[in-house]
Symmetry: C2
Subunit: 245 residues, 2 copies
């Protein structure tokens, strides 16, 4: 029995998220398990590092699966890409220790939120970004980001549906990169609560628009009241960039 | 009666090209005429500067239409975008001289061809680029591009379906910009034969791969035999960037 991890990129537009659904809607995991089962001739259960939501993308999702197959690891990427639809791409495959687990072995994950900041929308980036027509203050957004970085109770930045036992997370970095008309928020943390990145992005957009102050963001972190932070911005701006082990 | 021109961007993925079709397949022109007729309350015929093919995109297509409506020109962009689907965006509207014609008044057009040059395909750029996994010699491609620039008989670079009376065109520039893994070919000419940019791009890819030499490209230009130039590369890499008047 071998344990294999594969780095995957996907355009989430046409999927109901990463995770297999009980109601049989198309998901990335379902596609991967189907083609890996076909490829290895053994039923495959492909666990993912992050359960991205419907419409969320990935440049560096990581999955692992255990298999009796002796397919050479160097052949896996090519063989997968021959079978995968064009919106899912296998990038790298490695044989790993038997106890490696894509989700639980992860030390940190890096997500990027893409804001298209222009008066007019874009015909091209609409499926890969969130259109914000208002002027944004980069300076204020960076100030607020400074309060978010660090180990905090992120109750104010979790969706009500979140089932996590603790809401303490360590945000290792939160970078704001401006390449007009694009704005990229890159968040790395040891773990994320449900919708946490999208609520952080929504809060920073509100700060940029002047609807809330950086000081208030510091207060949200301290108070832990979900209602106070900004809105949950749409899924298509979000991309899982990297999982670190 | 007024004559109005509008600059348009569109993602061509879901359209059967720009031009209205007799068989009622969805086209960009059809959508524009429908919403402009709705907006101005008069039947609109929206002529385009370039008849982009199915799957080809535009950042700067220009249309013009004549209308009895007295809608203020400053309201047109917003009013159009409220009615347009997300994959078509109006960018600018101007009132122009009555004899202005989007196609015939154009002095030159600028097209860009996007090559995704990487061993693995991209899950994101697949609808907006052409994937070339082989290594490409930029130096040789630039040398060949030098032979294409200028006024020549482009018979070797026209599709057999082309109906143009003369195949003499003036290529004003052909720039090759490398931003790995992306490669952008930008071609400006006073006019284009049917599939000319896609055949130029296909020829340059063959030069980059070493399948034909820059010297042979010079020969294609001189000989005027279509069979000798490179293949017609796929439509999704092509984008009409700008029309100059």
């Amino acid at each position: 029995m071998r344990n294999i991890n594969v780095t995957i990129a996907y355009d989430g537009t046409n999927y109901h998220g990463f995770q297999r659904q009980t109601d049989n809607l198309p998901t990335v995991q379902q596609v991967l398990e189907k083609i890996l089962t076909d490829l290895t001739k053994y039923p495959v259960c492909a666990l993912g590092a992050g359960r991205t939501d419907a419409g969320v993308h990935a440049e560096g999702q990581v999955i692992n699966f255990r298999t009796e197959s002796n397919i050479p690891v160097g052949r896996i990427v090519l063989a997968m890409n021959q079978r995968l639809p064009e919106d899912i791409v296998a990038k790298k495959a490695e044989e790993v220790e038997f106890d490696f687990h894509a989700q639980f072995s992860a030390k940190s994950k890096v997500y990027r939120y893409h804001i298209f900041n222009s008066r007019l929308p874009s015909a091209f980036d609409r499926l890969y970004s969130y259109h914000v027509p208002q002027k944004l203050s980069l300076e204020k957004m960076k100030e607020a980001a400074g309060y978010i970085v660090g180990e905090h109770d992120f109750t104010a930045f979790r969706a009500s549906a979140s089932k996590a036992k603790t809401s303490i997370r360590n945000v290792l970095r939160l970078d704001i990169e401006s390449k007009p008309p694009h704005l990229f928020l890159t968040v790395e943390a040891d773990g994320f609560l449900y919708n946490m990145v999208r609520i952080i992005a929504g809060t920073l957009v509100y700060v940029g628009r002047g609807k809330i102050t950086p000081e208030e963001v510091r207060h949200f972190i301290e108070s832990g009241q979900r209602e106070e932070a900004g809105p949950t911005v749409p899924p298509q701006g979000l991309c899982l960039m990297e999982v670190k082990y």
